[in-house]
């Protein structure tokens, strides 16, 4: 890497089911202003902007152009990146590359979605091939449900294991995160009693869809050091968009894209023993079932070891490797922002600014994004510019 890049500011809205107080640009504006405030910068300090969401959630074309009233993009370089559920993490990575290229010193990355403006499942279902898949692929739920069916029969995981993930994330959101959308503590019994929406997935296993925005400011090393004493350094990025037909993702008991993206990011960052080296993880877990199955792709446990690790409690706030102190995606999901919130939350941890979510002494954190057709993005963020 020629130019080291650090995160110097993070802002997000108070995520809600339905934010009617804000027109879309205003929602974006709130996150942007909070990010600027957190870094003690003004819009004049921003050299370029990257923004992302998914067009058909709000039915707005050329969002990079439409958003300038809220993004601050007036008479600035701005571009749009969109890759489905990974949009937020892709926006974060694009923000990183903007700065790492040396072309821009201080870069504002924005993810947002006002999911209450449309029927989220229907809008997502238009991501499937119109000729051979769309008719019978019901949004993101169906494929994920099918995947857990296969994992349960192969590794003996249970629906209760998934419920434990749901309880962990919801309770973290309730106790620690004032920005989270769902802030209600729940129990395993409540998850198990909630109605099936797509077997084996129950209502409380699924992420909500939210209205919200997140903004993260990236800066090249010398700028970053001038802006804050504790930047959150980007040590590694990886992304892998593995498939195009959703049917071909079936039978993948796990998530090979996450394994490959993690491999790239870990290599760049020098991560060799992820479970020990990471102090916190902010994972894009769109359904509790994925919280059981995907940890192994990140090297956090052995193959089929997801149920063991979840049952051990080690991923809870007081465990060895807390996962999703923010409450994660199960508590908050403005889709185009969701991946960027993971990066932002990871940065707050190493900057020591995570407040009630703070995991004491967090130095190295992994953030992930998930979306598209079983695609993954991975980001490794650290308190120091290189691993000790």
């Amino acid at each position: 890497m020629k130019n080291r890049v650090g995160i110097v500011g993070v802002g997000q809205t108070h995520h809600k089911s339905r934010n009617t107080d804000c027109k879309g640009q205003e929602l974006i504006g709130i996150a942007v202003k909070r990010a600027l405030e957190s870094a003690e910068l003004t819009m004049a300090d921003i050299d370029s902007i990257v923004i992302g969401n998914m067009d058909h959630f709000e039915s707005i074309n050329y969002v990079d152009m439409w958003s300038v009233d809220g993004s601050g993009g007036y008479m600035k370089p701005i571009m749009k990146v969109t890759t489905g559920g990974t949009t937020g993490s892709a926006v974060g990575h694009a923000g990183f590359y903007h700065a790492a290229s040396g072309l821009f010193d201080t870069v504002l990355a924005i993810g947002w979605e006002q999911n209450s403006e449309s029927d989220t499942t229907a809008a997502i279902s238009t991501c499937f091939d119109p000729i051979v898949e769309r008719e019978f692929c019901g949004g993101a739920i169906g494929p994920l449900a099918a995947q857990y069916t296969a994992y349960m029969s192969k590794y003996g995981a249970t629906e209760e294991d998934a419920a434990l993930v749901s309880v962990r994330d919801h309770n973290n959101a309730a106790q620690c995160n004032p920005y989270a959308h769902l802030r209600q503590a729940i129990t395993v019994e409540e998850v198990m009693k909630s109605p099936y929406i797509s077997y084996p997935m129950k209502l409380l296993d699924m992420c909500p869809r939210s209205d919200g925005a997140c903004a993260v400011i990236f800066a090249v090393e010398d700028k970053a050091r001038r802006i804050t004493e504790r930047p959150a350094w980007i040590l590694g990025v990886g992304d892998c968009h593995i498939l195009v037909q959703v049917a071909d993702g079936i039978g993948l008991a796990n998530l090979p894209s996450l394994e490959r993206a993690a491999g790239e990011a870990y290599k760049m960052a020098g991560i060799t023993d992820p479970y020990r080296q990471f102090d916190v993880a902010e994972l894009y877990v769109p359904a509790s079932t994925a919280g059981v199955t995907w940890m192994e792709a990140l090297g956090l446990c052995e193959e089929g070891g997801g149920p063991r690790l979840i049952r051990s409690g080690m991923t809870n706030m007081d465990g060895e490797l807390p996962i999703n102190p923010s409450g994660g995606v199960l508590a908050t999901n403005p889709i185009g922002a969701t991946g960027l919130i993971r990066i932002g939350e990871a940065a707050l941890q190493v900057m020591g600014k995570a407040e009630k979510k703070q995991v004491e002494g967090a130095k190295v954190v992994v953030a992930t994004g998930f979306g598209g057709c079983f695609w993954s993005d991975v980001t490794v963020i650290s308190a120091s510019p290189q691993l000790d």
């Binding site: 008479m75 370089p77 969109t82 694009a94 903007h98 997502i124 968009h241």
Partner: protein
């Protein structure tokens, strides 16, 4: 900035209906660009796709061409915007030092959807969208504003169309090579006054790919690299009423940034050929002003003078421009590909002799709200 070169380019022929699917078109240009660069897919270590969910009629539209571009094998991202923005993202990947060779692929099937419905979605859904605004009538508001403010005539705009459709006759990729006169343009069907049918670009399907590399790799792997000397992008205000539609502030800023990087002080003297995003005839005149090829309000004089003709001092759109083929998203990347051919001396019958420095330009949003400018050199 460090040096980045374009080492391979490919385009499909642009046409009203390309029977190939999105993926099949993307695969065609991917293979041809690899062939042009004398590389294999294994040499590509990252990709940028350029897809738009509205034009492609699909959420996460980049899924459509992921495998066709080899993007499932390497780090990839999708830029939703004009192809020039995709190329810019590719440059940033290379300049980071984390990647060596980038493939950028843009594809578009404008003929699948209804352009007016798709461009209507550019306008704010709480406010102006309900007026039935689209790319054509919003541009008509801009054309009128420009003509009124600077005394530009419909005839001068028509002459852009005449020039570019004629140039297209020398471009085998062009969709609309035409022998027409200004009178033909002026008498063509009125779409939205003052825009007439022949002032407007056609509905085109097609794809374009470019392959870029950092300096060390480019020098080793390529005998005829074309260097990216400068790049700049910028956006103006969103609501049409927030802008003076006759002016081109964002383009001036984008060009200024690109010229600064490339060390260009007198664009007309230093640039040998330009490919600009003329979605409508009048746009070429406005963009020449924004690019500093002439003063503000002098776009009409510029076309009158013949400077931008094939035999002029600064030929603009030898390819026939966007007026002669308009695959949305692709069109800006095609401008880059065309300038690469010019700088390599491989532009065939549309070659501008001795071209050493070229400019390629893309736009984004309604009425050129956003611009991206590339300076390339031999």
């Amino acid at each position: 900035m460090d040096k980045v070169a374009i080492i391979g380019v490919a385009q499909t022929k642009y046409q009203r209906y390309n029977p190939a699917s999105h993926a099949e078109m993307a695969y065609e240009v991917t293979c041809k660009a690899l062939e042009d660069a004398e590389l294999t897919i294994d040499d590509i270590d990252n990709t940028i796709t350029v897809c738009n969910d509205f034009w492609d009629g699909r959420t996460i539209s980049c899924m459509t061409i992921t495998e066709a571009t080899g993007s499932h094998k390497v780090p990839t991202t999708n830029v939703e915007g004009d192809g020039t923005y995709g190329a810019l993202m590719g440059i940033m990947r290379l300049l980071s030092g984390l990647h060596d060779i980038t493939l950028v692929v843009a594809q578009s099937k404008v003929s699948e959807g209804i352009p007016a419905v798709i461009t209507n979605a550019m306008f704010d859904p709480v406010y102006e969208r309900i007026l039935g605004l689209d790319a054509i009538n919003s541009s008509a508001l801009q054309m009128r504003s420009y003509m009124h403010k600077y005394g530009i005539t419909e005839g001068q705009c028509a002459n852009v169309s005449v020039k570019n459709h004629k140039n297209a006759k020398a471009n085998p990729y062009a969709h609309m090579p035409l022998d027409i006169t200004a009178d033909d343009v002026l008498k063509s069907r009125l779409l939205a006054d003052p825009i007439k049918l022949l002032d407007a670009s056609p509905v085109s399907d097609g794809a374009c790919a470019i392959i870029m590399a950092g300096e060390a790799v480019a020098r080793k792997r390529c005998s005829n690299p074309v260097w990216i000397r400068g790049v700049g992008h910028c956006a103006d205000a969103y609501h049409l009423g927030d802008r003076d539609l006759a002016d081109v502030d964002a383009l001036i800023s984008a060009a200024g940034r690109a010229y600064g990087m490339a060390g260009i002080q007198d664009p007309v003297k230093e640039i040998d050929v330009a490919e600009v995003y003329d979605a409508f005839s009048y746009m070429e005149l406005m963009w020449m002003e924004g690019l500093g090829f002439c003063g503000r309000g002098e776009g009409g004089d510029m076309i009158d003078s013949g400077t931008t003709q094939m035999d002029g001092a600064l030929p603009v759109n030898p390819s026939g421009g966007v007026l002669s083929a308009h695959p949305v998203q692709v069109a800006g990347l095609a401008r880059i590909a065309e300038t690469v051919l010019q700088l390599r001396g491989e532009a065939g019958a549309r070659q501008v002799k001795g071209a050493k420095v070229a400019l390629a330009h893309g736009i984004e949003g309604a009425c050129g709200q956003g611009h991206c400018v590339f300076i390339l050199g031999r």
